[in-house]
C-alpha cells in the first residue's frame, strides 16, 4: 500500500512539497523572530540592548526594566484604567449584544427585518468622526470613563454572529414548549438560552476584550485628563511620541544609565502591555476560530 503511494508521489510533487515546507518555515521564522527579539531584549541588561548584543536569547539576564515599570505610578494608573475600561466595556457589550441578538433570532419577533436593516445600514454608512464627536460631547460624557465604554459598546458584526448562533443552536420547538409551560421570554432567555450559549458569550467577551484593551483612538479623541488615560495612550506617549522621557521614570543619575534604561524600557513596556491579552490566547483559540467562522457565514 505505502509502496504504491510512494510511486504515485512523482518527483515534481515532492519538489513542490519541499517548496511548500520551505515557504511555511520562512513564514514561521518571520513571524516568530521579532517576538523573540522583543522578549529577549526586555530580559537583558540595558548595556547589552544598547550595544546591540541581543540577537536571539537574553544577554546578561536582568529584570531592571520590569522593576522600573512596576514602580512607576503613571504606568500603574494606565494599567488600572485599561482593566476597568475593558471589564465594564465587555459587560456592557455582552448584555446589550445578547439583548438585541436574541429577539432578532426569534421568528415570532415582528419587526426583526426592519431592525436588521437599520443595523446593517450603520455598517455601510456612518455620520463620520466629527458628528460622532459632537454627539458624545453633547451627552456631557467627554473626558469621563463613560466615553471609553458607551460609544463602542455594540458592534453590528457581533450582533450578527450572536443572532446566527441563537438561530442555529436553539431549536424553535424548545421556545414553543417553554411558552406553553408559561415561561416568559426573558425567563426562557435567562434559564434556557444563556446556559446553552457559553461558546458564543466567550466569543463576544474575547473579541471585545482584545479590542478594548488594544484600542487607543477613542481615548485619543475623548479623554483629556492624564489620570484617565488607558495603558495604550501612555505607551504611545512613551514609545512613539517620546514626549515622556523614559529616562525620567527612573532616579538614575548617570546620563549613560538613563540612556540605556530608556531603550530597555521600550522592550519591557511592549511585553507588559501585550502579555495579559496574549495569556488567554491558548485557552481561547478554539472559541476565536469558531467566532471567525460564524462571523464569516452570511448574516
Amino acid at each position: 500500500m505505502s509502496r504504491t503511494h510512494a510511486i504515485r508521489e512523482s518527483l515534481g510533487d515532492r519538489i513542490f512539497l519541499a517548496f511548500i515546507y520551505a515557504f511555511l518555515i520562512l513564514v514561521l521564522a518571520t513571524v516568530i523572530y521579532p517576538l523573540i527579539f522583543i522578549v529577549s531584549s526586555s530580559f537583558s541588561s540595558s548595556e547589552a540592548v544598547v550595544s546591540g548584543r541581543v540577537w536571539l536569547w537574553p544577554v546578561d539576564f536582568s529584570l531592571e526594566g520590569y522593576k522600573v515599570i512596576f514602580s512607576n505610578p503613571m504606568i500603574l494608573t494606565g494599567y488600572k484604567n485599561s482593566i476597568l475600561y475593558t471589564f465594564f466595556g465587555v459587560l456592557a457589550n455582552v448584555v446589550l449584544t445578547v439583548a438585541l441578538a436574541y429577539p432578532l433570532s426569534r421568528s415570532t419577533f415582528i419587526g426583526r427585518n426592519l431592525i436588521m436593516m437599520l443595523l446593517v445600514f450603520t455598517m455601510l454608512f456612518n455620520g463620520g468622526l466629527i458628528p460622532t464627536y459632537l454627539t458624545v460631547k453633547s451627552l456631557g460624557i467627554l473626558d469621563s470613563p463613560l466615553a471609553m465604554i458607551l460609544p463602542g459598546a455594540i458592534a453590528v458584526f457581533q450582533v450578527i454572529i450572536a443572532r446566527t448562533f441563537f438561530q442555529s443552536t436553539i431549536p424553535k420547538e424548545l421556545g414553543e414548549a417553554a411558552e406553553l409551560d408559561g415561561c416568559s421570554d426573558i425567563g426562557f432567555l435567562w434559564r434556557v438560552v444563556l446556559p446553552l450559549s457559553k461558546a458564543i458569550i466567550a466569543v463576544l467577551v474575547l473579541f471585545h476584550a482584545v479590542g478594548t484593551w488594544n484600542a487607543y483612538f477613542d481615548a485619543l479623541i475623548y479623554l483629556k485628563s492624564p489620570e484617565l488615560f488607558p495603558l495604550q495612550i501612555i505607551l504611545r506617549n512613551i514609545l512613539i511620541l517620546n514626549s515622556v522621557d523614559a529616562g525620567s521614570l527612573v532616579d538614575a543619575n548617570q546620563f549613560a544609565a538613563r540612556q540605556g534604561l530608556r531603550d530597555l524600557l521600550k522592550f519591557s513596556l511592549i511585553v507588559v502591555a501585550t502579555v495579559p491579552i496574549l495569556c488567554i490566547y491558548p485557552f481561547v483559540q478554539k472559541y476565536f476560530v469558531q467566532g471567525i467562522m460564524i462571523g464569516s457565514v452570511k448574516g
Binding site: 515534481g12 511555511l24 513564514v27 517576538l35 546591540g52 455620520g127 460622532t132 459632537l134 496574549l278
Partner: protein, 322 residues
C-alpha cells in the same frame, strides 16, 4: 346591481381581513412584549451613537458654530466640498489613500490564501498546528505596540533590520523617515500581523471541500499543483469573493489608527490620508464643517464602491453580499 353587491361584499371581507391582520399583529406584539423590552436599550444606543451622528453629518453643508448648534448654523450648500476639491491637498490625499489601499489589497488579500493553501498540503498535524498557532499570535498585538515595534526594528540605532543592511555593506537608513518606504512598511507589517487570522476562514473552507473531489483528482492522476488549482481554489472562491467585496468597499477607509501613529514630519508627504486629514483639520484644527464634508465625501465614495463591486460580483458569480 348584483355585481356592486358582490364588490361591496368583497370590500367588506378585505376590510375585515385587514382588521384581523392588524389585530393578530397587535396580539403577536403583546404576547412577546418582553422581546421588545430587551431590544429597547440597544436600539437607543443605535439611535444615539449611529443615527444622531448621521443626522449631524449635515454640518458638512453648514458653517457650524457651537453657539448656534447643528441645525441652527448657517446653510452654505456645497462650498466646503468645493473648497476641498480645489485645495492643493485634494489630489495628494486621494493618491495616498487609494495607493495605500490598492497596495494593501494586492498584497494583503492573497497572502492568507497562500498560507492556507500551503498549510492544507502539510500532512504533519503538529507542524500545521504550530504554524497556525504562531501566525495567529500577532493578531493580539495592539496598534500602538505594533508601530512601536516597527520604530524600534527600523531605527538605525536599535533595530536589527538596519544592522542587516549595514552588514550587507549598505549605508544605514532611517526607514521611517523615507517617504518612499512608508507604504511598503505599512502593507507588509499588516500582512505580518494578520496573515494567520486571515487564513482561518480559508482553512475552514478547505476543510469543507468534498473528499470525493480529491479522490477523483487522484484517479485522474492530478499533480499536487493541479489539485490545488482545480479543487482547492474553486472550493475557497465563494469565501474569497465575499472578503474581496468587503475590502473593496473599504478602499477609502485605510486604518487611521496605524497610519496616524506611523506618521512623522519626514514621511507625511506619502502618509497623509483622508482619515488623518479629517482628524487633524477637524478635531485638532477645530474646522468642524470642512472636515465633516471631507469625511462625508469619503463615506459616500465607499458606499458607491461597495454597491458597485457587489453588483459586479453578483453578475459574474454566485457569491454576493445581498
Amino acid at each position: 346591481m348584483g355585481t356592486t353587491g358582490t364588490v361591496k361584499a368583497l370590500h367588506d371581507v378585505q376590510k375585515e381581513s385587514k382588521a384581523l391582520a392588524a389585530r393578530r399583529l397587535w396580539k403577536g406584539i403583546k404576547r412577546h412584549w418582553q422581546l421588545y423590552l430587551l431590544v429597547l436599550a440597544p436600539l437607543v444606543y443605535f439611535i444615539i451613537f449611529k443615527y444622531i451622528p448621521m443626522y449631524g453629518a449635515q454640518i458638512a453643508f453648514r458653517d457650524f458654530s457651537i453657539v448656534k448648534g447643528i441645525t441652527g448654523s448657517d446653510f452654505v450648500g456645497l462650498s466646503h466640498f468645493e473648497a476641498f476639491f480645489k485645495s492643493p491637498n485634494f489630489w495628494l490625499l486621494i493618491k495616498n489613500t487609494m495607493g495605500i489601499s490598492l497596495y494593501s489589497l494586492l498584497i494583503g488579500f492573497p497572502a492568507p490564501i497562500l498560507l492556507a493553501l500551503a498549510l492544507n498540503e502539510v500532512r504533519s498535524m503538529r507542524f500545521k498546528k504550530t504554524v497556525q498557532l504562531v501566525t495567529f499570535a500577532p493578531f493580539f498585538i495592539s496598534t500602538v505596540v505594533m508601530v512601536s515595534m516597527l520604530i524600534i526594528f527600523l531605527s538605525p540605532r536599535l533595530g536589527f533590520v538596519d544592522q542587516i543592511v549595514q552588514a550587507l555593506g549598505f549605508e544605514s537608513i532611517n526607514f521611517m523617515g523615507v517617504p518612499g518606504y512608508f507604504k511598503s512598511i505599512f502593507v507588509f507589517s499588516n500582512v505580518w500581523q494578520s496573515i494567520g487570522y486571515g487564513a482561518v476562514v480559508y482553512l475552514a473552507a478547505l476543510a469543507g471541500i468534498n473528499p470525493e473531489l480529491y479522490e477523483a483528482a487522484k484517479v485522474d492522476g492530478a499533480s499536487r499543483f493541479q489539485k490545488i488549482r482545480n479543487v482547492d481554489l474553486p472550493g475557497i472562491a465563494p469565501a474569497a469573493i465575499i472578503l474581496l467585496i468587503l475590502s473593496v468597499g473599504q478602499i477609502m477607509n485605510v486604518g487611521f489608527e496605524k497610519i496616524y501613529l506611523m506618521q512623522n514630519p519626514l514621511n507625511v508627504s506619502t502618509s497623509e490620508v483622508i482619515s488623518t486629514y479629517v482628524y487633524k483639520t477637524g478635531l485638532l484644527g477645530a474646522n468642524f464643517s470642512f472636515s465633516a464634508a471631507v469625511d462625508l465625501f469619503n463615506s459616500v465614495i465607499n458606499l458607491i464602491l461597495l454597491i458597485t463591486v457587489n453588483s459586479i460580483a453578483k453578475r459574474i458569480s454566485d457569491s454576493s453580499l445581498w
